[in-house]
């Protein structure tokens, strides 16, 4: 018995684990992109999440776009445009000869169709699109098609942000023919004019795009790209190493560090246009007192957060507008880490030691906050040191948004990743009094400065960037002094790739554009 069982057992164990690894087949024209989650919806008017946007950016085009290296607005499907004197009428000349992937021509009617879906809740071609971005386009009164190659946007009021909003993914031009043919199936079978043609999508399994041979900017360098959701960052690294995938993003901080150290892989990084911050609810005493808010600002050691939670993969934030973006106020004197000063301020404000603070902290990582739990641990500890007693609440993300939007927090962690590289997208969205109305407030500090509101609204209506810049700097100075929130960090964007991927460049907005990516022969590894 003894003799027969053990060899058998051993053989079984060795027999199964010893299977030879299958050699990777050589598909050198197919790029495999590993990411954390699958897309949710491929209808531009329906999508909200970053993973869907990665697909939309490659399948669709917008009227205008960012330049290759930065956030200057350049022509895309619109070749040129002009504005009326009052800034309320915008006329776009459309590019000729562009066709949708279904073969139908791109023209003014398609533009009008797209925007009509976006702004009118009762549009007959909405097909259940949730339209989370409708508010961003509410300024559009209507879109007139004056000729097949010319459209006129009529706005309710002049807007300095309008053009940038046209570069955002919800404004991707869809094929009206396919949309009407497919109805709500368009959400899973998108048709646009972009660099890649949608091929197939097996939910949570793979999403395949093929090169658009007739792309107006020129044919992409790779034949096909497969987007593969692989949940754990560590698993994505494992598959990069085994050569199963070529690129991977949404990497956690420890995994970034491991990849950085790995000689066979490349980690590309660039400063990100995002900000993580700690919002303080100005409606809840004692945070209605500016001294208490400043006390908190002095209590948080941002360099410890940068070191422990970001491992230096980011920049310390001194204002809400990211350093990498225009409109950032470079000369603000940030609140220094000084717990003694905090205690003094709290004493002045009459806050007793042991005061309870309801601290909402998400536990899912976000594009601006890769290690929320570590940041939470650091901040709770620092709050305790100045005499607060934090009560941490970490519900699921949907409940979290619901509850903080309702103002149930004293303080909460939050952040923002830019949609359009405009300061308005940070300052107005997150600190204007108009967005401080629960439920579903975005201004989670419930900061209602009239002065700031006037500046921000004025900046929205100006179209000259210099004038807008000085308005935004003035607003940031006031905000800094009122201290409604503590800006924490700007996370660096990062993408990992194997050595044979070339031609791909990280875009500072975080948009993933794969047209120029190519695969070198693996001999050059």
């Amino acid at each position: 018995m003894r003799e027969s069982i053990w060899p058998l057992l051993l053989m079984m164990i060795l027999g199964v684990t010893g299977c030879a690894p299958s050699p990777p087949p050589a598909h050198e024209s197919i790029l495999i992109y590993g990411r954390g989650q699958d897309a949710v919806s491929l209808d531009p008017a329906d999508a909200e999440d970053g993973e869907s946007v990665k697909i939309l950016t490659n399948v669709f085009d917008t009227l205008v776009h960012y330049d290759e290296n930065g956030t200057e607005i350049v022509p895309a499907l619109a070749e040129k445009w002009e504005t009326s004197a009052d800034g309320k009428t915008w006329t776009f000349q459309l590019r000729e000869g562009v066709r949708f992937h279904d073969g139908t021509p791109f023209d003014g009617a398609a533009v009008a169709f797209t925007f009509d879906r976006l702004i009118h809740p009762d549009n007959p071609h909405r097909y259940g699109a949730a339209n989370p971005y409708r508010a961003d386009y509410a300024t559009i009164e209507k879109v007139d098609v004056t000729s097949p190659q010319e459209v006129v946007f009529r706005l309710k009021e002049p807007s300095g942000v309008f053009l940038r909003k046209l570069a955002m993914f919800p404004a991707s031009i869809v094929s009206p023919t396919s949309m009407q043919k497919l109805g709500d199936r368009f959400r899973t079978e998108p048709v646009g004019t972009g660099a890649f043609v949608f091929v197939e999508w097996l939910s949570k399994e793979r999403l395949t795009l093929a090169a658009n041979k007739d792309y107006w900017r020129g044919k992409p360098a790779i034949e096909e790209v497969i987007f593969k959701p692989i949940l754990e960052p560590a698993a994505r690294r494992r598959q990069l190493l085994s050569g199963e995938i070529h690129m991977a993003d949404e990497l956690s901080i420890p995994v970034r560090k491991q990849i950085e150290k790995d000689p066979t892989l490349v980690l590309e990084t660039c400063p990100g246009m995002n900000t993580a911050y700690l919002a303080m609810n100005n409606d809840h005493p004692p945070f209605n007192d500016v001294r208490v808010r400043q006390a908190i600002a002095h209590a948080i050691d941002k360099s410890a957060i940068a070191r422990s939670a970001y491992e230096d993969a980011g920049m310390i934030a001194s204002t809400l507008v990211p350093k990498a973006m225009w409109g950032h106020h470079p000369a603000l004197n940030d609140y220094a880490y000084d717990p003694n000063r905090s205690r003094e301020l709290l004493k002045e404000a009459g806050v007793a030691p042991g005061t309870k603070v309801v601290f909402y902290a998400m536990r899912n990582s976000r594009p601006y906050l890769p290690s929320p739990e570590q940041v939470t641990a650091i901040i709770t500890q620092e709050l305790k040191e100045i005499g607060f007693e934090p009560i941490v609440k970490s519900p699921d993300w949907a409940s979290y948004l619901d509850q903080v939007g309702n103002g149930e927090h004293d303080i909460c962690l939050m952040g923002w990743q830019t949609d359009n590289a405009d300061p308005d997208n940070f300052l107005f969205a997150l600190l204007d009094k108009e967005n401080a109305i629960p439920p579903k407030a975005h201004n989670l500090s419930f900061y209602r400065s009239e002065e700031v509101h006037q500046l921000l609204v004025e900046a929205q209506r100006k179209t000259e960037q210099d004038q807008r810049l000085s308005l935004y700097e003035r607003a940031q100075t006031i905000i800094h002094d009122d201290c409604p929130m503590v800006p924490l960090m700007h996370l660096d964007l990062a993408i990992a790739r194997t050595k044979n991927v070339a031609g791909y460049k990280l875009h500072p907005t975080g948009l993933v554009m794969l047209r120029s990516a190519r695969l070198e022969p693996s001999g050059s590894k």
Partner: protein, 347 residues
């Protein structure tokens, strides 16, 4: 006739159990704030858009009304839509795609656990009280004590060359040859050994991880059942007649001990099928366990309800089959122990 009546009763009770269970989940998940509309619209949505969506989806209706609607849809084979899943697929489609992954993982784990577990149990019984017995019992105790997620992490580190997630190499696809959804079987049918090799490499670590609990339990139960049987009179009689120890062991003790084993194995399988939540999480195995965890955490109503319905139904059905089998094999079994032992811990 009695067996038919018994089956009928079990069926009706099972159905009632399912409906009550579903109601509990249905009601509980709607008690909480958040909900799918907020999750669908995300960080940038306005309150008006959320209200609109809730209204369109009927999520603002009274819970009882929603429940009745849901039940009648289920009765018509419509499990609704998983609103937070990629592409908003039908729940039924999702479940029928994910369930085979769980089945494959569970069956493989059982395939490892049964022979090894029984073998270990036999060794322990044969060497009762001596060192092999102690070693086996030690392994068995450790098998139910090491957290499955810890074991999974250890295995991933120990075998850095093995794939750590998914069911298949990213570059391969089963799509053209998929029949049963069990990759190992489908690839054999199609004669695609490259796919078989990739699928089995992906399966090994999760299957080994998942097999530890049933293996340990099977080893223990085999040992104690054998020991009990070996003391029975007919075995003593056979021994007294001069039959060799091995002969008695294999031809007399084992068959008797096999009867309670059937229900033990069935229950183990049922437990594994009902969702190897932790194993599927550590190895990002695309099965029901992960699905239901995510659905519960994100409050994807449709997905959670559908998964609970499926898991509950499978669990109840398997239990019923086991009971009927046990009843057929040996009515005395209805009051005996293995069912309690068999309920291990979450896998």
């Amino acid at each position: 006739m009695r067996i038919l009546a018994l089956a009928l009763i079990r069926f009706v009770r099972g159905l009632a159990t399912l409906v009550i269970l579903l109601f509990l989940v249905f009601f509980a998940i709607r008690l909480t704030p958040g909900g799918p509309a907020v999750a669908m619209l995300g960080q940038r949505a306005t309150a008006r858009e959320i209200d609109r969506l809730n209204h369109e989806m009927g999520w603002d209706r009274p819970v009882m009304e929603q429940f009745v609607t849901y039940l009648s849809n289920v009765a018509h084979g419509d499990l609704g839509v998983a609103y937070l899943s990629p592409g908003r697929p039908k729940v039924l489609t999702e479940l029928s795609r994910l369930f085979p992954a769980t089945v494959e993982l569970s069956l493989s784990a059982m395939l490892l656990a049964v022979p090894i577990g029984i073998g270990l149990g036999m060794v322990a019984a044969a060497y009762r009280g001596r060192w092999p017995d102690r070693v086996v019992m030690g392994i068995a105790s450790a098998g139910v004590s090491i957290p499955i997620f810890f074991l999974g992490i250890l295995l991933l580190l120990a075998f850095p060359a093995m794939p750590g997630s998914g069911r298949l190499d990213v570059r391969l696809s089963m799509r053209s040859i998929e029949r049963t959804g069990l990759y190992l079987i489908d690839s054999v049918i199609a004669g695609r050994w490259d796919l078989w090799s990739s699928a089995s490499r992906h399966l090994i670590l999760p299957a080994v991880t998942l097999s530890t609990i049933p293996m340990a339990i099977i080893a223990r139960v085999t040992r104690s059942t054998l020991l009990e049987t070996l003391q029975a009179d007919f075995i003593r009689a056979a021994r007294a007649k001069g039959a060799s120890w091995l002969r008695v062991f294999v031809f007399h003790a084992l068959p008797v001990a096999a009867v309670p084993m059937v229900s033990l194995l069935g229950l183990q399988l049922a437990t594994l099928l009902a969702g190897a939540v932790l194993t599927e999480t550590v190895f990002t195995w695309p099965g029901i366990g992960r699905y239901v965890t995510l659905a519960a955490m994100q409050k994807d109503y449709g997905a959670l309800q559908g998964a609970v319905l499926l898991l509950g139904a499978v669990f109840i059905l398997l239990n019923a089959i086991i009971d009927l089998l046990a009843f057929l094999l040996d009515p005395r079994l209805r009051r005996s122990g293995p069912t309690n032992l068999a309920r291990g811990r979450s896998a």
